[in-house]
Symmetry: D2
Subunit: 116 residues, 4 copies
Amino acid sequence: MDAALESLTAALRRFAAERDWDQFHSPKNLAAALTVEAAELLEQFQWLTEEQSRNLAADKRIAVGHELADVFLYLLQMADKLQIDLVAAAQQKLELNASKYPVAQARGSSRKYSEL
Amino acid sequence: MDAALESLTAALRRFAAERDWDQFHSPKNLAAALTVEAAELLEQFQWLTEEQSRNLAADKRIAVGHELADVFLYLLQMADKLQIDLVAAAQQKLELNASKYPVAQARGSSRKYSEL
Amino acid sequence: MDAALESLTAALRRFAAERDWDQFHSPKNLAAALTVEAAELLEQFQWLTEEQSRNLAADKRIAVGHELADVFLYLLQMADKLQIDLVAAAQQKLELNASKYPVAQARGSSRKYSEL
Amino acid sequence: MDAALESLTAALRRFAAERDWDQFHSPKNLAAALTVEAAELLEQFQWLTEEQSRNLAADKRIAVGHELADVFLYLLQMADKLQIDLVAAAQQKLELNASKYPVAQARGSSRKYSEL
């Protein structure tokens, strides 16, 4: 696995072990916690226009960074528990998506993901 | 930034550019899409017991890997659009969490995140 | 439509009109806000066991009630904007579910919703 | 409780009892399922502009109605399990919101919910 992700994963293991939190960190609970953090990220954008979301104020951008980090930390913990290599899984999924959304049909279509 | 994440990010840029999808990929829309993918991950676990979630069947584990990958791909795209270094943001957040949940008070408590 | 829901819907219309919030209340934004509130509801349960969730302390039950109410208020606003009768839609969906999950096959199976 | 909601709640109890699904319907699991359905509702809107979301095509509006119904059905089941009167809880929450967002300060501000 990637060195930076390996190092973050090791730090997360120590963090949970020191607090005896592994008992709460079933994959089921981590999936719920990850979804809660994703929604906190979405909350930062819910009343903004798309244009405003492309031009965040400095303090908002920092708040968004913290939420992205929270999602990432739970993602790493889930991957660790389930022994899934996140980078390899992402590369495979990107290849799957390339065959699912061929350039010719998908180009410029907002009907992309769900309705092609 | 980390080399593996840099490479995935570059692949995602090409993927979106080839399909002319940047018009849909405002940070607001990406945050919604990331939340939708997080919920698809949660769906894999919603009727399992915690114990079952710790012992996934092989096909279920593959399905979960695809959902983790989907969340990761949107996370990378958001970080790219907002010029946020995911690994650095995660390291900072982990340090913040360490001072927010000191070992002595947090140890073994299920009241951890929201109510300490 | 049902009298109690009609009355709540009218109160929500006044609430938004007095604050000039209709400009923010596109169905897209309301769907995001509803999802954020659903995740806040989930957050109340994320580290509890199922057993603990069946036996909530009094203060937790009140907090959960507020989150249920938030989801319901956005649901009513979306139904109002899109002129959908929630009660009629729920009755129809329940009939659809009855044919989708026949008693004989669905009985006692945790593989119910997604995999039957 | 309201007659229409009482009747839907009774139908949902029969539905679960006939399938022996109460074992899966802990408040924790229902909160996860409700969040998953909320995200499926959001998915309908994720690549639409706000303007497009205000003018849904007929088939899209039907799909959205089904998702609203799914959220409502889980909301009713949670309220039933926790013995919470949804209509009364919503009325109370609306009063709380009225004092939290006074017309004078909240008027026309997109900074409303989180930052006022």
